[in-house]
Amino acid sequence: MANLLTVLIASLFLATLAIPVIYRLRTNGTGTFLALFPLLIFILLGYLLITLNPFEAGIGDSSIAILEGMELSLRVDGLSLIFGLLISGIGFLILLYSSFYMANQERQKSFYLYLMIFMGAMLALVFSNNLITLFIFWEITSVASFFLIGYNHHREKSRQAAFQALIITAVGGLALLFAVILTGNITGTYRISEIISEGIHLGNHSRYPLILSLVIIAAVTKSAQFPFHFWLPGAMQAPTPISAYLHSATMVNAGIFLLLRLYPLLGGTIMWKYSLLITGSITMFLGAFSSMGQKDLKRILAFTTISALGTMMLLIGIDTVNSIKAALVFFIVHGLYKGGLFMITGIIDKSTGTRDIYQLNNLTKSMPFTALFTFLAVISMAGLPPMLGFIGKELIYEATIQMPQLSWIIVPLGVGANIIMVAISITVFYELFIYQKKKITTKLLIKEKAFPTSFLVGPAILAFMGLLLGIAPEILENAISNSIYFIRGQSIKITLSLWHGFNEVLLLSILTIAGGVILFLLRKPANRFIAHILNLFDIYHLPSIFNNLVNTYLKVTSRNTERIQHGYHRFYLMTFFLVTIAITSLHLFKITDIPFSLQYFSPVKPHVLLLIIIASIAVLFAVFTKTRLSAILAMGLTGYSIGLIYLFYGAVDLAITQFLAETIIMVIFVMVIYYLPTFAVLSTRTSRIRDAIISIITGLFITLVILKAELIKPDYRVSDFFTENSYTLGEGKNIVNTILVDFRALDTLGEMFVITMAAAGVFSLFKFQIKRLKERKKDS
């Protein structure tokens, strides 16, 4: 079973290879075809859910080791099953939905490619049994979501949103990597199953605060918690199916998953509780608060997602069996209604061309089915019976009320956020489907009947799942019991039911609904009030602060780059010479134990001295002359003098080669030079003096290095072997030649390649010119 699941998850990645083929065969059926893969996974996971034992891991170890300590192994328990079911199930619906939504759009192939990779990485992330692979898939989801959010990359907003999402989640990713490595070093294993079964908890370790902070940074950035929440509303620049998927089951929920996954390792301490409580409650309230007064349906939903994620964070922070249970149930609730609502947004957008809820008018008649699905989704969001949302909210209240000490602040915050949720649910439904606005007539671009079934089936299934699970929540009991067993190590049989009896929780629910209705009635002044408050905080507009930070960083770095990479070839060389001299001279003057004495040197030969004087004059002349030809001739003279020096010291082959090479270079130079301009004085006097000083220093330095090297003569010469065996082994009397063509023949072959390459380069340079000239003629 484990292998089957591995193969299926891998098939998501492999299916991307088939995309071009399917796309060519059936352009708009690509999504439908690809949907088969997550469907198969969903069915398999469904089977695993049914057979799951409440207090036992579904699938143990089945690992493929990649590197030591890093293997691909799966872990199926309640937690990963709940996440996996939602990811694969909603993924299936999203692919069906995309088939129509993305039809006739550009770059569909890339869209499906990113989506499949994202889905595969998300599934692999939740089923991963190894912290390192968990991190890798975590990063893949970040990168894939970058491409998905920036899918409409011709829009600047879209690019910016994708960039923000990537930077923020990548920071979290780095923190996670750091935390994972630290954890591995302390515990000695990266395996989640081992960490859980051995009951390793880092609470008392001195590194605990660091690791916990890193993990929380990872979770908070990924799950769009305050103050990093701003990337999520920006991410609605993505195509709607993607928003639906990111918000409902994947990406942002990965942070929640990470915290639940690492709970056995890190959870339950004071620091854990308070940091999650604080971020969670701020985010929960801030998200709900900001969603009021928005016009764009997608934006409203984005802020409610932030609020929902805050709620989950808070519940994990409350840290009781009930709160974890509530978090898991709420994750399912949220995934179902949020996925549905986003898809409905896409349907309305396709049909009417707008997402502004105040521009839409009484859609019930024209879109009866959509209205029904929306109704089911919003009552789940508002937490009304008989939806699963009701159970979720009851559980949240139960958990907050039972919380020791802090319930006096958490309960009002939770109730407040939920009141806003209720009000928003009513507002959205009312504005879209009931209220008859006088001035606005909504034109339908596409009628609901014209939509294919695959486009409407997604929200339908999600809405009815919310209803079904509300009526029969027993289906989830095993998975949740199992999750809680592995998260908190307590074997408690969890029961879920719609009706809890009359108690304070129900009272709070009624209070919430009443409050929501009142807020709905007062929505106009409330919206104005919220807009006013948000305006007050406008200077702390986080996306712009983020952009400013990034821009400042880019400015500083580009200034530095310009300073270092200035593009002036001679300054690069100057830097090179001066730095080399500075570093080497440190060493040069350190070796002082070798005495300097002229007796080490061979006697002066007058004819060589004469040659050197001629060559020196020639080279100086070459430097200072104003005409090109005399410079070349002077250069040649220097070259020939050096060749003669070789000759006087017995290096006949060298001398011949030097003469030949020097002649050829001069000939080529003279051939080329007539096509080039005459020397012009380009530099200023000061720069010439500066260069002269640098070159004199370099010359002096080289002389010193040579003298030093001359004084340190090693006793042994490598070439003695060649000298002794030249005739006996190489059958050659000329030792230099024998070395070249016999002992070191391969080197010589390499040298010939260099020459051939140079020849080919010269040839292509000139050939290119001929082509260009022809092109020019054609153009003219």
């Binding site: 070839h569 001679r570 060389l573 100057m574 010479f577 061979s602 050197i612 060559a615 020196s616 430097v623 410079a631 250069m635 220097t638 020096i645 017995g650 290096a651 060298l654 080669t657 090479a661 130079f669 096509y675 301009p677 020397f679 012009a680 380009l682 530099s683 260069d691 002269a692 640098i694 070159s695 370099t698 010359g699 080289i702 002389t703 040579i706 003298l707 001359e710 003569k713 010469r717 070439s719 060649f722 000298t723 002794e724 065996n725 030249s726 005739y727 006996t728 009397k733 000329n734 030792i735 230099v736 070249l740 080197d747 260099v754 020459i755 390459m757 140079a758 380069g761 000139f766 290119f768």
Partner: protein, 117 residues
Amino acid sequence: MELIIAIFIGLLFACGVYLILRRSIVKVILGIFVLSNATNLIIFLAGGIKSEAVAFIPDDAESLNPELINDPMAQVLILKAIVIGLGIAAYILALKYRYFEVTGTHDLDQLKNTDQK
């Protein structure tokens, strides 16, 4: 003699460095030639200039006493350096020729970025 050659190499280096620090590409190329010659001389000097004998094995002998000649390895290395230097020279000159034809300038400061005008 080594001292004089060392000073000579220093002079060649000074001239070469001065030339490659110029803005005119023709001078830069001249500088490269001077530097490659100077470097060859350094290697030559490292091989020793104690002897004047040619590194040939006499007709009547099977081998040669290594003490009698300068290090032949240095000569081998320089031989290769000269030939490769020739290849580089030819290539640079061709490149320069094309470069001038395309850009119309021989001022390296005009070559600060890769964008075409």
